[in-house]
Subunit: 633 residues, 2 copies
């Protein structure tokens, strides 16, 4: 009865897209699915809510980029019709010299993600993350209070050793070095993954087909990114298995620790998997290319690919958007809805085949019967995992992709209702489990937020041209303006210094000097092609920026931590009030007992006992805070 | 009776130097002085204990420095008899050219504090600090458990608004911008202090008297350091007053917040006061000196002082040791023992004068009467403050002064017994106050530990020659050895380029090139005296080191945090066991009641009630955890 009402209420008020703008009825969710799932949806709700301001600011930053694209002197200089700087070929023999003008489009586009506003935005997002953590602490506290969890501690049941563990202990094969071995294996695999991803990426970008390589097109990059995405999606499934296998090897003591270790490993592997290609593009692409005349070659004849003019930021951005959108669309929607529906269908058909006379009953099935055809509840890990990876996309590279929060927001608005539908309709009703916090996930979020600060610092100072522009403006610019920046970032190369067989096949004979993006001495200096003073100056500036950025942001987030109290004022007051109330109450009760004993009146004593004593018995022990009693009066 | 026994016990077992090697009887201390003071001594004990390994490693590092001083190629090169590098004069006109040989002593000495071991040591100390924090959390938890504080919360009494506050509120003059004003004032003062200290330091070091300036002697530095110390000691007292004044201006709501704000301000002021001169020497001395021919002048004719050859590290070290030792000896011992004794004497004499017939009674005074002649208890703030400043000395500049932990250890071994004596003998017995943690002091410790990481990173990379040596060895050294490093760090100056009136008065006519410690182009380059490529390369290396060091150390301390559980395993098990015990107990009790009600036997019920009910009444509410009950069975 009540359950049916509840489920129908959840259908209307929660599991439908029509109410996407409303707060979720967390109370109901908790009533029907238990605290653990309630907390997940509360967290998801707060996260989505917090994404609104973030995506607003992100959009503004992006618009600022669009608005200022025409007053951006460097891209103006590149696109200027009269500019005819001859660039050195981007690959050996096949590629020919090219005019800087050709890079006009990329240069203009990359300004969208490479302007002072993005610096501000990445600081903003770091503080946003700190704010989000704090608000979640408060929300959690509030829910704990409203749900009578303040005194609740994790079931000790889950602390009982697992059978496998005890078996292992009996086998006496659980030695220290054994453990360390396992940890070693884990890290080995993680680094293996990194290397593998980078090498594939490199291979993918290396020049084997001259015709396609001869001009670096956006299409090429896009397809590359898509291939990448597919690889990521496939590997994601593989890594899930790997993590489980590793954890089984480790033989953790309790189910709880088993789950936590599993989550931790899965997180690391999936995170690495999702972000390696991006990190590769952000920090390694186009760094180790060497210089014209002595390029760096991997294997025998594969030359590392350079970034298009205007930094790798553009490619980074494409990679980010495609990976993020792709993951969300394919993984979440296709896998999360499609697969379960399919399984359900199969299971249904199977049972259909079994017998014909059942058909009658099938028509008037009870919920608990239809449940049989539903997917069993697989735990919240995948949901959280997906969200934390998304949180990574929102915070880690936000400096180069200010629209990430918007994408995340749009996804989550759907995601909430999607998960809601799944829990209400597609899954068997899970056993209600108590929990007072989101456990290890909170720590993982913190970790991501911390890493985000340093990664953003590096993206701004090394991937974008922000620092070189500043350095030029304040150290080298004759008139303190950005005019001449492009020329300043390009070094000269004397084509006569090409190694034999490396020079372009169709020699435009008028060229004897070509330019390349690097800070090196010109051919006519007495130390030609060695790294120039400008390079070191810029490098120093970049590193200095990283230090300043990281420490300032960390300080600011600490201040945010410190300004926002963990327990909402009203709640702490409530708890205190109720404590006092309880003291008086118990006093009364005891006095009552005494009177009752002295005056020998069982009935009076009885009802008194029935009022208070049972509560004292049933509640006052498991709960630490005593406000819970007060709730019952 | 009991009290007297207790005090005499404390005398023997605690407040005497003869037991310095023993653990303190914290239990007794807590019984006599209350939890708050008990926690202070427990903390001081743990801190001192933790200092033992730190000082051991410190001594080893120092000895390593001593042992390797003779194989240190740079100082060997400087001291080499055949080396006759002519250095540019250290001041205008009065000073003459000098031979690098003269810096031999300093160079050898500074190796003691500027060798690879110190890098290791500062990492070690950062982890040590993290370890200390964690251990203190555990110790605190254990004490809370043993002292039945697990459920105790700060007295709500102290949350009542202070009279001054309510007055203020009535005057309606406590507006937001008012508050911000006050905060503004605070920071203004803090920065004022910094500027003041730096300027005094500069003035102190600036060349007004040619004869003393003509040769930079250790004696000069030492006296300077001592003068500094005196200034610090005087200002310390001033700042105490300033902080109080500022806090009074702020009119905090409750006594608790008043105390915390006061502590916070006092801490900041005293900290700044203690460390500004040191920070000045570490990071500003000898940086902004300009170069021969165009020195930097403050005011009209005062030239910034350079560091002796071998970096400012030596001077930093002297400043550190003198400040630290001086503060400890004078402030702690003289002020802490001398002043109280004096006051006691005065008070005693006064009372003596009052009357003669009292003399008789005076002879057979009771403790509570003699108490009248004692100093009233002024709170633990000064004790903690002194210790946290010391913690600063131990962690902040440990890279340049590895003996700091040893000094701290020696001081604290005395300090513990000294404070003990003070509490037992010199002070009126304070009102026992409950507390379950050391409050704001813990946060301040954390803050200091955090700042320490970044400061040590900068000391190693900017104050010491560690990075320049590495850069030389791996980038410039012809044979990968340190040979020629000294020569590499010295730039050339053509004496003909001296401005008129700045060249030395006694011209040694054979000199036409002198050397100075900087990375600048030589006079014969086509851009003479401009900052050279080496400078930028070294700077980049230094900044890179800071980034790597800071992040590695922070990561490692996080791991330490995460590896050491906050609650000792045995304690958490105990608490859990006792909880279960309590549940059963209460069940029994309730059943007992029921039986007793049904069978109408008051006596049985009575004794049962006397057993359990009073406990249920008196204890089960104020304490959150129920183990306290179990203690009573």
């Amino acid at each position: 009865g009540l359950q049916l009402q509840l489920i129908s209420l959840l259908y209307e008020e929660w599991a439908s897209y029509s109410v996407f703008y409303k707060y979720q009825p967390i109370g109901l969710v908790r009533k029907y699915f238990g605290e653990k799932i309630g907390l997940y949806f509360a967290w998801l709700g707060l996260y989505t809510q917090m994404l609104i301001p973030a995506s607003l600011v992100g959009v503004i930053v992006f618009l600022y980029g669009c608005a200022t694209v025409d007053d951006n002197i460097p891209s103006m200089e590149i696109c200027h019709p009269k500019n005819n700087i001859t660039m050195c070929p981007l690959c050996d023999r096949a590629c020919s010299y090219w005019k800087l003008k050709e890079a006009c489009g990329t240069a203009r586009a990359s300004h969208l993600f490479d302007n002072p506003a993005t610096v501000f935005f990445s600081i903003f997002m770091a503080l946003w993350a700190a704010m989000f953590m704090e608000h979640w602490k408060r929300r959690q506290m509030r829910l704990n209070y409203e749900w009578d969890l303040t005194g609740f501690e994790e079931e000790e049941v889950s602390d009982h050793p697992r059978a496998e563990y005890e078996l292992r202990v009996m086998q006496k094969s659980l030695k220290k070095e054994h453990k360390t071995q396992k940890i070693g294996v884990t890290f080995a695999i993680v680094f293996g993954v990194i290397l593998y991803r980078i090498s594939t990426k490199t291979a993918l970008h290396m020049s084997n087909n001259p015709t396609t390589r001869s001009n670096v097109r956006l299409t090429v990059k896009t397809t590359a990114a898509i291939i990448n995405l597919v690889v990521i999606l496939i590997l994601d499934e593989v890594y899930g298995a790997v993590a489980r296998w590793l954890t089984v090897l480790e033989v953790p003591k309790t189910d709880k620790s088993f789950e936590e270790r599993l989550i931790f490993k899965t997180f690391i592997l999936k995170f690495v998997n999702a972000f390696t290609p991006i990190i590769y593009i952000a920090f390694f692409r186009g760094r180790l290319v060497g210089r014209p005349g002595s390029y760096l070659y991997v294997f025998e004849s594969y030359r590392m690919e350079e970034c298009a003019h205007g930094g790798c930021l553009m490619e980074l951005c494409i990679q980010l958007s495609i990976t993020m959108l792709g993951k969300q669309l394919i993984q979440n929607n296709l896998f999360e809805i499609g697969i379960p529906k399919l399984k359900k269908l199969i299971r249904y058909i199977k049972s259909k085949r079994r017998s014909f006379q059942e058909e009658e009953r099938e028509k008037k099935l009870q919920r608990y019967e239809t449940d049989h055809f539903l997917e069993p509840f697989a735990g919240l890990t995948p949901e959280y995992m997906e969200m934390i990876i998304q949180f990574g996309f929102v915070t880690l590279f936000v400096a180069s992709f200010p629209l990430a929060p918007l994408f995340a927001l749009l996804n989550n608005i759907i995601e909430i209702r999607l998960d809601a539908k799944k829990f209400v309709a597609e899954l068997r009703r899970p056993v209600a489990a108590r929990a007072k916090d989101i456990g290890i996930w909170y720590n993982l979020l913190r970790a991501v937020a911390k890493v985000a600060v340093i990664i953003n610092a590096f993206v701004i100072s090394f991937t974008s041209d922000f620092i070189p522009r500043l350095v030029y403006q304040y150290m080298y610019s004759p008139d303190g303006s950005m005019h001449g920046f492009v020329n300043h970032t390009l070094s000269y190369f004397n084509v006569s210094n090409f190694q034999d067989g490396k020079e372009p096949m169709d020699p435009q004979h008028q060229v004897e000097m070509c330019r390349y993006k690097d800070y090196r001495e010109p051919p006519w200096s007495n130390t030609p092609y060695v790294i120039s003073k400008e390079f070191w100056a810029v490098l120093a500036a970049r590193l200095a920026f990283v230090i300043v950025f990281q420490n300032v942001v960390m300080l600011m987030s600490d201040i945010v931590d410190w300004l926002i109290p963990d327990i909402p004022k009203d709640i702490s007051l409530q708890i205190h009030k109720e404590k006092i109330l309880m003291v008086e109450l118990f006093m009364k009760e005891e006095q009552g007992k005494i009177q009752f004993i002295d005056s020998m009146m069982p009935c009076g004593g009885k009802e008194k006992r029935n009022n208070h004593a049972p509560i004292a018995r049933s509640r006052s022990i498991p709960h630490t805070h005593s406000h819970t009693h007060a709730n019952n009066f």
